[in-house]
Each structure stands twice: as structure tokens, then as C-alpha cells.
């Protein structure tokens, strides 16, 4: 046996274990976390805070034009499962399912004796990695890091490290992945504040992730009332209360996200540049809106 299959098999084990750790907490997770040097998993409430109320681990949320579960983005992932001959699971674009698939393909490739078939499996693995994981996981992981959970911040960092390490062993795509090609940006014009908020909260359009915790913190820092509801409702109410300050805050966050994405370009190439461009555009757009809003307000005054 060459060492390459051995390497693929052991890294596959890491991906499967990382995937399981974002599923519903379970006693067996302690063993997995220990093996990955992540310490003791936190209580289930923290898992809910991070993955249900914060950064939900579904590709569609980060790649879909609505920034929500399901839709075309989820269908595209399910289609990939079918193309490989698998029955898509109920939640085909869940991170755990995708990491499990990455592990399964890696193990199958390692066990395959026919070089041609092994090459095909390797190709499938590369597509999965570049098209359906690296297009959104680094952004998702940065959102997790903002959640304040030490355990899941470490988990997310290890996840990105492992994926980037894996990408170094597989051919990088020459062009932007299909999942990002043609992804709509921020709309040029929006009718309502709710529409603007929804667009800003759609990662693939805005290039950033604004979690519920961040919104709450911003409302406090800006001295705004925090309205209880879904994130777009919260952000919209902030924009209604003080559009200038809120747009300035979003622009500031977009600057930070743009800087993060730009740093990733060294390893992730066009994918990171796509995200950086989106964040930068958001910063510019928000500042322009802030300025125009400020003008209007000063005229009124």
C-alpha cells in the first residue's frame, strides 16, 4: 500500500468526526472531541445557541439567493449526491452530511484498486470540496467564531484547517465554482427597509454574516431598541430607528469581513476573492446609502 491511500483514510476520519460534532449533542461526542483535541463538548444549550440560533450549518443559507434553508442551492447539492449515485439524505446540504460524504468518498478512493476508478472518486472528492464546501464553510466558520463559544470556535478553526489542507492535495479549479458563478449581489434598488435588511443578511449577496448576537450587541452599542423577531426584522427595525448609524455599523462589519476574505485568497484563490468583492461592495453601498440618508435628514432638519 502506498502512503497516499493511508493519508486519505485518516483524514477522512477527521472529516466524519468534525461533521458529527455539529449534529445534535450526543454522549458519544465526548469521545470524538477528545480524539480531536477539542476538549469537552459544551452543554446542548450552547449547541443550540451556535447552530440553531446563530450560524446554521446548511450550504443553502450561505449560497442561496434568499439566504435561507432549501431552494435552488439545496437542490443543487442534492443533485450532486444523485450524480454520484447516492440517495440524497433528508438534509443533503447539512454540513455533517457533506463532511460524511467527503469521508465516504475518501475511504472509497483509498480502497479502490482500479486506478481509473480511484481517479474518478478523487475527482468527485475535489468537486465536493471546492464546489460544495470551500465555497461557504470558511464564511460559516467565521460566523461561528463570532458566536462566543470557545469549543465551537476551536472546532470551526480545525474544520477550516482540515479543509484547506485537503484542498492542497486536490486540483484547484481554474474558474469560480458554479455555486458562486452568477450568484446575485446586493440589489441596486430596494423598495423597503425589510428588503434591504434581507439582502444584507444573505451571505452570498453581502459577503458577510451578521448573527443574532452581533445584532443585539450593535443595537446596544448604538443605543437602539432591540426588537424581538427574526434577524431581518431586527435589522430592519434598527435601520428604521437610526439608518445612518446602522448603515455605518454594517459598513464597518463589511470592512472587517472583506479583510478576512482577502487574507484567505492566498489559499482559496478565486473563492476568497469573490467573497471579498461582495463584502467590499456591501461596505461601499452602505456608506453611499448612509451618506444619501444623512443628506436627506440634514435637509429635513
Amino acid at each position: 500500500m502506498t502512503l497516499e491511500p493511508l493519508r486519505t483514510r485518516t483524514t477522512s476520519e477527521v472529516f466524519r468526526a468534525l461533521g458529527v460534532l455539529c449534529e445534535t449533542p450526543h454522549p458519544s461526542h465526548a469521545t470524538l472531541a477528545g480524539a480531536l483535541d477539542l476538549g469537552t463538548p459544551p452543554p446542548a444549550a450552547e449547541h443550540t445557541q451556535v447552530f440553531t440560533l446563530g450560524t446554521v450549518p446548511y450550504a443553502a443559507v450561505y449560497l442561496g439567493k434568499e439566504g435561507m434553508l432549501g431552494g435552488d442551492a439545496a437542490d443543487r447539492v442534492a443533485g450532486f449526491w444523485r450524480a454520484l449515485g447516492y440517495v440524497p439524505p433528508a438534509e443533503a446540504d447539512h454540513l455533517a452530511a457533506l463532511l460524511g460524504l467527503l469521508a465516504t468518498l475518501g475511504e472509497a478512493e483509498a480502497a479502490e484498486l482500479d486506478p481509473a476508478r480511484a481517479a474518478l472518486l478523487g475527482r468527485a472528492r475535489a468537486v465536493l470540496l471546492w464546489e460544495h464546501l470551500l465555497t461557504w464553510v470558511p464564511t460559516f466558520a467565521r460566523g461561528v467564531a463570532a458566536s462566543g463559544s470557545a469549543f465551537y470556535t476551536d472546532w470551526a478553526a480545525l474544520l477550516v484547517e482540515a479543509l484547506v489542507a485537503e484542498s492542497a492535495t486536490l486540483d484547484a479549479p481554474d474558474a469560480l465554482p458554479v455555486a458562486l458563478t452568477g450568484a446575485p449581489g446586493l440589489p441596486d434598488d430596494v423598495d423597503t427597509v425589510r428588503d434591504l435588511a434581507a439582502a444584507l443578511l444573505t451571505p452570498v449577496r453581502s459577503g458577510l454574516v451578521l448573527t443574532r448576537v452581533e445584532l443585539a450587541r450593535a443595537a446596544r452599542d448604538l443605543g437602539l431598541g432591540l426588537r424581538i423577531g427574526e434577524r431581518s426584522y431586527v435589522l430592519a427595525s434598527m435601520l428604521e430607528q437610526d439608518p445612518v448609524a446602522t448603515l455605518a455599523w454594517v459598513a464597518h462589519r463589511a470592512d472587517a469581513w472583506g479583510a478576512h476574505h482577502t487574507r484567505d485568497a492566498e489559499t482559496l484563490g478565486p473563492v476568497a476573492r469573490f467573497w471579498a468583492e461582495r463584502a467590499t461592495t456591501t461596505a461601499i453601498t452602505c456608506r453611499a446609502r448612509r451618506d444619501s440618508t444623512e443628506e436627506v435628514l440634514s435637509d429635513v432638519r
Binding site: T11, E23, A96, A97, L158, E161, E166
Partner: protein, 978 residues
């Protein structure tokens, strides 16, 4: 090239995870929780089944832990035998809830609503907990509690008397939902009694006939999950045979791109998932199948090699076209004309389906190749005169494509089912019971069970002891009032013993009502064809097993069941033991312990022997987990014996069997060698030996001896010499028989009534005491199309009178486009009733209280009140918000036995009118004189064995029969000829 020293940090972590995984798996524990790992779909890992902790949702926000033992068993509500996991409270030893058993290969952890509802049945405040004996006249409604000893001694004494007085046919056991495969058949065989009476002729014997004449095996086993096209003449996604195990595989295939064709007159839930929904005039399904076959043949899109190798075309040519050369090309020439009349236009005229649609689905079917899975079980095969040709013509389509036991094709159950051999196997009884197997029906697939009351009234015999066992013929069968008449007549039925978990319309007319355990309170061993593999599922009394896990010793299931509820295996063992107290009748030996001679066999020893000696691979699998085979089955509840069984008929025959073998000129191979021991007792046809006594072992195909099929020819029998020789040559090849409700047979004001369809959340009488299920479904309106309702001025909810040949019932209309115009439909499962004389609580949550009266031969039922809230130990009974329970339509149906299959043809020709003045919802009126006249009319359609038997026997010996007597009693006795 990298070396191990160059490993990255991620690789290092991977090695650690691998090592941890190996260590955990090495302990037989679960490393990754599964198989469904996301969100609420998770299953508790198996190593924690002894002590599973959950938070009590009712105690929220306080965190109160509930500790349970998880004990597997098998659902008893429908025939699918899905795996359940009982959550048994560690402190109270009561069952908290049931969920799916992820270790079950058939159901794979999933259940329909009926499985978890088992907990309702267990905790039903009105369930029967003690043996009851009638204290007044039969049906009077007065009951007294008795002890088991009294009941057993009485029943055993009567059976002993019948046996010793050489009247064994006076003992009969009539079963609804069977328990363990073959168990009660063996009990009856040990008594020397031909008294097995199944419900099958009101259920599936029509479809069975069609499959059996083709293959020698009476059930299909479609490999839905791997099919490219799924062709259903049924509603398999909601209620069909093996509903849950099949539905999940059908949906898998659909997700993989398979096309689904559903033939169903109703817009069923299944039809809503179809790519092609075909709503034909009922009874025309075989014509559609033949039009598809015609299309495949005419365009030569059939699998020539498969047909050439595996059809008995040579026998057909020799019998029907003796002047033609016996070449395959000649056969193809004949085949090309044989179905020429069944054009899409012909099928369109019969079915009302556009010819273009039939052509379109023919193309879809053809596109499947060998990955076409087809299924028909009840539905049209159970509704129509000649319904058995529906499954037979459907299998013709599969056989044309070579989609037989292929991946994604239709397999056969005997190869996808495993029935292990028990410690004792009694021989054939040397009796023939003409009450169940009358000479008029030599080809009936199963007992003529639903004719029993008519035959008793005709004076064909009497019964000393009649068991109804988890069966309610007064309500389920046609002609319920004839049943009622007979069950009241002690001169016809001396003792009626109802073995049942619940009160029901038949139990009210019993002498003893004996409480039988539910799915979590009894032992049974099951195996069903649900994919291309073989598994066994173990039903067990879960509180007994839980107590044993805690170190208690339980020797009788009554010690752990509620009240004095018993399981059947121990009941039959004990009853048999008492029938033959000194062993002189030769019965006792079949129930004697091997490890403790002189003592009665225990269920532990019974199953231990089976699991250690008769299930290949189980001892090894158990040993790998440090368990003995019985402990393994008690722990996991199921075991997969094999998977990917494939085309057994293509397997070569062992050389050892071929020494001295003789081959006929049609290729059948007979061996003089002793029969090899049988490891799998799954029932199938039994082709007879040749004139020299050599037994059939295979069939010569292209110079190789293959195992073939268990048919007389060893091949797939396109041509049935059995049908030809036994008086029905016109049906010797698959064809179309016009139904008794064909438009040609209806008066201008009559329409067909479809009464067979089922509700996904109910199951005959058995779901009666499941409150969750009752809350989901309480009524059965008459489906009627707007174009039919308009002339009658009907709107949904209006009362209509539906008149059959023997009476009428009054029901509410439901005006819907979900039914074909010109056809009406009313669901099964509804219309339960309790006579006002019975104790009030016997009606429970589901039965209306009725006044049942009789004037001459006319019976009238008036509803006094529906259900309503009442106080009980379960606070939920005070919350019953519904009063409707539906209408009992079956009582107004006369018997319609198919003259060949024996299947009751359920569809009715009815007149639908507005309710008349004085009609009330739920009214029923029946004239049993008319019932008897119709019974005699249908009897005239038969061809009696005394006239058609080619060899002086009652029935072809090779045909399946649930309890098969010795060959000597197959001969028609001289006195019967007179």
C-alpha cells in the same frame, strides 16, 4: 512521496480518531451515532439500551430524568411486522412509548402511525384483561370472569372428546392476523385436525392465485428500491401490503429518478405521488395489463432470451398447438397473435383510459427493462370476479421483460423469506375438512372461510369448538348477519372461543373471550419479503424481557403482562398439553421439553433451539457480541439471514442430486436421490414426484440443470396445465375476465361500489383501542363524483341510501373529483358497533351503540348513539370530541366467491339514492334469505372436482395449502361421489 514522519497535524488527528473508533467498536459499542444522525432522527445507541435517559417533557422547565430499558419487539397491527423499540420504565416496568427499531432490516427504524400507537392499546382502559365466560344466552351481553384453568380444562376436554370420537373436523381455528409463521398450523397438525381457516379469501387469495400459477410461489417481492419503473395496482404508499417497508423503498427509488405508475380508480395518497396515475373503470385492470403486454410483444421490446429460457412455451405449444413445430420462433409467432385483440383501443373501451395514455405507460414500462418492479395484492385482485387475472397479467408484463428476481425487478417471496425449522414438526393430518375446502372449489388458493356460515346452515357439518383468533368475521366478512345467525346457534357451533385483545362484534357472540397479548406482550417469529434479502423478526413480551434483564426469572408471560393477558404460544402449548394429559393421543410429545423430559416445553427452550440450530449465521453473529443466539434476538429483535439473494432459479443443481436423474422431453429433471434436508420452511408449491417416485430437483435449460421454479414444469408457467386439466382450459394462459360489475352486468341505475380501500391509520378491528388513531380517522363517507352528485342534488354531508343486492346502508356523501365518474367508493375500517345489550364500556372509543333487531330473515340496525366523552382511568377518554364512527357497509354485501381462486369479489353493484324519509345515518337493513340465494347463485359458477378432477383427487397436490393433509386424503372418497 510522503512518509509517516511527514504527516500533517490533520493526519495525526485522523490516526487518533481511527484508534478511538477501533477501541469503541471493539467493545461492541457505537462510535458514530446513527443511522440518521441529524436533529430529531437520532436513535439511542444500542449499548445504552439497558439504561437510556431522557428528560420528562411534562416536567419542563424542571429537569426530571426518565430512565428506560429499550426492548425490541415486532408490531402486531398490520402484516408488515415492522420493528418496534419499547421504552420500558426502569422503575415501574411499564411501557412508556414505542419507537422504531433501527436494527430491523425490513423497517429500518421507521414506523407508520400504527406502530407507536401500540402504547394506546397497551394502556387502553377498556381492554380485556381477564378470561371471560358468558353468563347468559349467547349475545345477551352478560359476562363473568373465570380463571384460565377453568377455561383451558373446558376447551381441552371438548377438543379431546372430538378427537377421541373421531370427529376431528369439528375443531376449527379461524385466524385474522397470523402470528408466528406456521406455528398454529403445526399445533393443528399435532392434533391431527384439518381445522385451519384463514381470512385470506377475503384478503389476498385472488392475487396469490395469479402469482402462484406463474411461479409456484404465491407472493411477489418487488425490489422497489432499485427499480427504474414501479408499477402499482394498489395504494402501496399508504396502506398496501408491507406498507411502511415498501413505501420507504418506493420513495427511495423515486428520489433516484424512478417513475411510478399507479393504477387506482381513486385518487389515493399513492396516486398523488405517481408520475402516471391511471384511474380505470374497476375490473378492467387486466385488460390494461394485456394491452401493455401486447405493446411489448408487437414492438418486440420483450426479453427474448429470458422468455426462451424460462417460460414453458414448449409445453404450451404441445398442448394447444400440437400441429406446430416446437421451436421458440413458432411460439413467438403464436404470441404475436395471442394478445392481438388487446390493443390500447380495446383496453381504452374497457377501462375508459385514453389509448394514448396506455401507449405512453407501455413505453415507460418498456424503458425499465429488467428493473421494473410490479405489485398487486388486494385492490383489483380482491374486488372482481376473475381478479386473480389482474396479478397474473401483471406478472406477464414482468416476465416479458425478464424482470423476475433481477435488481429492481419483482422477486418471489419464498426466496426473500426465511422460516426456520422448529424442534418438533408434526406430520400432515390425515383428515380433509370439507367445510373449508369444499369439492366445488378444487383450485381455491385458501380456505372458503367466508362461506362457512352458509355451509353450516346448509347442514354440511357442525363445529364442537370454533376459535376466532384476532378475527372479527361478523364485522370484517361479507354477510355479517348470516355469521351472526350461525354464531347464535349452539346446535351448529357448540363452543365459540374468541381469542382477542379487544371486544368486537364477533366476540359478543362467544362463549369464552380470552385475552391475548398485543405486539409487546407475546412471542412470535416472523419473516416477510420486503426487499431482496431474508430476515427474521422476533416479537417478544417486552416487560418480561425487561424483568429478565434486571435478573428476575419469568416462566410464564402472564407474570409480566397486564392482568391475566396471555401470549398465544404458551396458550397453545398448554392447551395441547391438557388435551393429551397422558400422551396416549400422541400429541403431548410435540410439546415436551428436550432438556427436561416429562415437562412442558417453555418458550425459552422453544426459541433457543430454533436460534441455535436453524438460523444460518445467527450463532456466529451472536458470539461476536459475546451473546448466545436467544440473548442476541432478545436484545436486537431481528437478524438478517441473507441479502442480495437474486435469481435462485438460475442456480445449478448439486451434482449429488443428478446421479441417476431422469429428464423428461420438456426438461423437467427428477432425482432418485433422497431429498436434501430443508433449512428454510418458507411455503411454496410442491411439484409431485414422477411415476417412478423420483422427486423433481430442477429443470434443464440449454443443457444445464437449474433449480428453476416450484411449478410442475419447473419453469415459469405461462401456460398452466393445472388450469387446463382441472376444467378451466379457457384460462390456461393469462387473460382478461370481465368482472361481475362489468357494465354489461349492471342495470342502468347501478354503479360499482369500491369498498376495499383502507385508511393509513387504521387496521381492521385491531386498531379499535388506539386513541391516537381513532382521533385521526373516524368516518367513511361515500366518495361520489360531482357529475354524479348533481342529478341527485347531493352536496357533501347529505345522507344517501346505498342499496346492494341484499339490503342497504345509509351514509354521508362526499362529493369529490378524486373518484372516477360513475363509480362510488367507501372505505373499510369504519362502522364499528356494539349491541345495546352489551356492557356500555365495550364500545369504547370507536363503536356506536345500536339496536339490532330481526323480523324473519330481515335484520335491521338503528344507531342509538355514537361515541362520546366518558370517565375512565385514562383522562383522554373524557376528551373525545367526535361522535361519528362511520358506517358498517360490509354487512350489506352478499358472498361473491370467485369460482377459481375462491377469493371473495368485494366490489358491489349498487344503487345510490337520496336518503328516504325515516332514514338515519348508519341505518342498515339486510335480508339474509337474499344472502342465501346469492350464495347459491355464485355456487353455480363453480366446476366441481367430482366433474373436473383429472385424477380422482380433490385438488392438485402441488398447489399450496396452509395446512396440507397427507396425500391419501386428497382422493375423493366414494361416498362423496354419490
Amino acid at each position: 512521496m510522503t512518509t509517516t514522519n511527514d504527516r500533517t497535524p490533520v493526519e495525526g488527528l485522523g490516526e487518533r480518531v481511527s484508534a478511538a473508533r477501533d477501541e469503541v467498536l471493539g467493545r461492541g459499542e457505537t462510535f458514530y451515532p446513527g443511522p440518521s444522525r441529524i436533529h430529531l432522527a437520532a436513535f439511542p445507541p444500542k449499548e445504552r439500551w439497558d439504561d437510556w435517559v431522557e428528560l420528562d417533557s411534562r416536567a419542563w422547565p424542571t429537569r426530571v430524568e426518565k430512565r428506560s430499558m429499550l426492548v425490541p419487539t415486532t408490531c402486531f397491527n398490520c402484516e408488515s411486522a415492522c420493528g418496534l423499540l419499547a421504552y420500558v420504565d426502569r422503575e415501574t416496568l411499564q411501557v412508556r412509548k414505542f419507537e422504531g427499531n433501527p436494527e430491523h432490516p425490513g423497517s429500518r427504524g421507521r414506523n407508520c402511525a400504527k406502530g407507536p400507537a401500540t402504547v394506546n392499546q397497551v394502556t387502553d382502559p377498556d381492554r380485556i384483561l381477564y378470561p371471560m365466560r358468558r353468563a347468559g344466552e349467547r349475545g345477551e351481553g352478560r359476562w363473568e370472569q373465570v380463571d384460565w384453568d377453568t377455561a383451558l380444562e373446558d376447551i381441552a376436554g371438548r377438543i379431546r372428546t372430538a378427537i377421541t370420537e373421531n370427529r376431528p373436523n369439528a375443531v376449527m381455528y379461524h385466524v385474522g392476523r397470523p402470528g408466528e409463521d406456521g406455528f398454529t398450523e403445526r399445533v393443528l397438525a399435532s392434533w391431527g385436525v384439518d381445522g385451519h381457516n384463514s381470512h385470506t379469501n377475503v384478503c389476498s387469495s385472488g392475487a396469490r392465485s395469479g402469482y402462484h400459477y406463474w411461479s409456484g410461489i404465491d407472493r411477489p417481492s418487488p425490489d422497489h428500491a432499485n427499480a427504474k419503473v414501479i408499477f402499482l395496482i394498489s395504494s402501496h404508499l399508504e396502506t398496501g401490503h408491507y406498507f411502511n417497508p415498501h413505501a420507504q423503498r418506493i420513495m427511495e427509488a423515486k428520489a433516484n429518478g424512478a417513475k411510478i405508475i399507479v393504477v387506482d380508480t381513486r385518487l389515493s395518497n399513492t396516486a398523488t405521488h405517481a408520475d402516471h396515475w391511471v384511474s380505470p373503470y374497476p375490473g378492467s385492470e387486466a385488460a390494461i395489463n394485456l394491452a401493455i403486454a401486447h405493446g411489448l410483444i408487437a414492438s418486440k421490446r420483450y426479453d427474448r432470451e429470458f422468455v426462451r429460457r424460462w417460460w414453458n412455451w414448449k409445453e404450451y405449444l404441445r398442448a394447444v398447438h400440437p400441429q406446430r413445430p416446437e421451436t421458440f420462433e413458432e411460439f413467438e409467432d403464436v404470441l404475436s397473435t395471442l394478445y392481438a385483440e388487446y390493443t390500447p383501443e380495446y383496453a381504452a373501451a374497457e377501462s375508459g383510459i385514453d389509448a394514448a395514455v396506455i401507449r405512453e405507460i407501455t413505453d415507460v414500462v418498456a424503458s425499465a427493462g429488467t428493473a421494473l418492479s410490479t405489485h398487486n395484492w388486494r385492490s383489483a385482485a380482491a374486488g372482481n370476479l376473475g381478479g386473480w387475472q389482474v396479478s397474473r397479467t401483471l406478472f406477464l408484463v414482468s416476465a416479458l421483460l425478464g424482470a423476475v428476481a433481477s435488481p429492481g425487478g419483482t422477486h418471489l417471496n419464498a426466496w426473500n423469506k426465511f422460516v426456520p425449522k422448529p424442534m418438533h414438526v408434526p406430520g400432515h393430518p390425515h383428515q380433509w375438512n370439507e367445510l373449508t375446502w369444499p369439492l366445488e372449489y378444487p383450485l381455491a388458493m385458501n380456505e372458503l372461510s367466508f362461506l362457512l356460515p352458509h355451509m353450516l346452515q346448509e347442514g354440511r357439518g357442525t363445529l364442537d369448538v370454533y376459535f376466532t383468533r384476532v378475527y372479527n368475521p361478523v364485522w370484517t366478512n361479507p354477510d355479517g348477519m348470516v355469521w351472526s345467525e350461525v354464531l347464535r346457534e349452539e346446535s351448529l357451533i357448540g363452543l365459540h372461543v374468541a381469542l382477542t385483545p379487544t371486544w368486537n362484534e364477533t366476540a359478543y357472540l362467544a362463549d369464552y373471550v380470552l385475552p391475548m397479548g398485543l405486539g409487546s406482550e407475546r412471542h412470535d417469529l416472523h419473516s416477510y419479503e420486503q426487499y431482496d434479502g431474508q430476515w427474521i423478526g422476533f416479537r417478544q413480551p417486552v416487560t418480561r424481557t425487561a424483568r429478565e434483564r434486571l435478573g428476575e426469572s419469568v416462566t410464564d408471560t402472564r407474570q409480566s403482562n397486564p392482568g391475566e393477558v396471555w401470549e398465544e404460544n404458551e396458550f397453545w402449548m398448554e392447551l395441547s398439553w391438557r388435551i393429551d394429559p397422558d400422551g396416549t393421543l400422541g400429541i403431548r410429545k410435540f410439546y415436551e421439553s428436550q432438556t427436561d423430559p416429562g415437562k412442558r416445553l417453555s418458550v425459552d427452550e422453544y426459541y433457543r433451539w430454533i436460534f441455535e440450530n436453524s438460523v444460518p449465521g445467527l450463532p456466529e453473529k451472536a458470539a461476536a457480541e459475546g451473546l448466545d443466539p436467544l440473548a442476541f434476538m432478545r436484545r436486537y429483535g431481528a437478524f438478517e439471514v441473507s441479502s442480495h439473494v437474486g435469481q435462485v432459479f438460475e442456480e445449478p443443481v448439486d451434482d449429488g442430486l443428478l446421479a441417476g436423474a431422469a429428464t423428461t422431453d420438456l426438461g423437467r429433471v427428477y432425482s432418485p436421490a433422497p431429498k436434501p434436508p430443508v433449512t428454510n420452511l418458507a411455503p411454496m408449491g410442491a411439484p409431485v414426484p414422477d411415476a417412478e417416485g423420483r422427486h423433481p430437483v430442477g429443470v434443464d435449460v440449454d443443457g444445464e440443470v437449474k433449480r428453476g421454479f416450484p411449478t410442475p414444469s419447473g419453469l415459469l408457467e405461462f401456460y398452466s396445465s393445472t388450469l387446463a386439466d382441472w376444467g378451466w382450459p379457457e384460462y390456461a394462459v393469462p387473460t382478461y375476465i370481465k368482472s361481475h360489475i362489468h357494465p354489461e352486468h349492471l342495470a342502468a341505475d347501478q354503479v360499482p361500489l369500491i369498498s376495499t380501500f383502507r385508511l393509513p391509520t387504521q387496521i381492521h378491528t385491531r386498531s379499535a383501542n388506539a386513541k391516537w388513531l381513532n382521533e385521526l380517522a373516524q368516518t367513511n363517507p361515500l366518495w361520489i363524483h360531482p357529475t354524479q352528485a348533481a342529478p341527485l342534488g347531493l352536496r357533501s354531508g347529505d345522507l344517501v341510501r346505498v342499496s346492494t343486492d341484499i339490503g342497504h346502508f345509509v351514509v354521508k356523501a362526499w362529493v369529490t373529483e378524486g373518484i372516477r365518474p360513475g363509480v362510488v367508493a367507501c372505505s373499510h375500517h369504519m362502522g364499528r358497533w356494539v349491541p345495546k345489550e352489551q356492557p356500555e364500556r365495550h364500545g369504547g372509543q370507536t363503536a356506536a351503540t345500536v339496536d339490532l333487531s330481526r323480523t324473519g330473515s330481515t335484520w335491521t340496525m338503528k344507531r342509538l348513539r355514537g361515541v362520546g366523552p366518558y370517565e375512565s382511568s385514562d383522562p383522554d377518554t373524557a376528551r373525545i370530541w367526535w361522535s361519528d364512527v362511520g358506517v358498517h357497509q360490509n354487512m350489506t354485501f352478499a358472498v361473491h366467491p370467485d369460482p377459481i381462486s375462491g377469493m371473495h369479489c368485494w366490489h358491489q353493484a349498487v344503487r345510490v339514492t337520496r336518503a328516504e324519509p325515516g332514514d338515519s345515518y348508519g341505518d342498515i337493513s339486510v335480508d339474509t334469505d337474499k344472502s342465501r340465494a346469492l350464495y347459491r347463485q355464485w355456487l353455480e359458477r363453480t366446476r366441481d372436482a367430482r366433474q373436473v378432477s383429472p385424477d380422482g383427487t380433490r385438488r392438485p397436490y402441488w398447489l399450496m395449502r396452509p395446512l396440507k393433509p397427507g396425500p391419501e386424503v386428497f382422493r375423493i372418497p366414494d361416498e362423496a361421489r354419490e
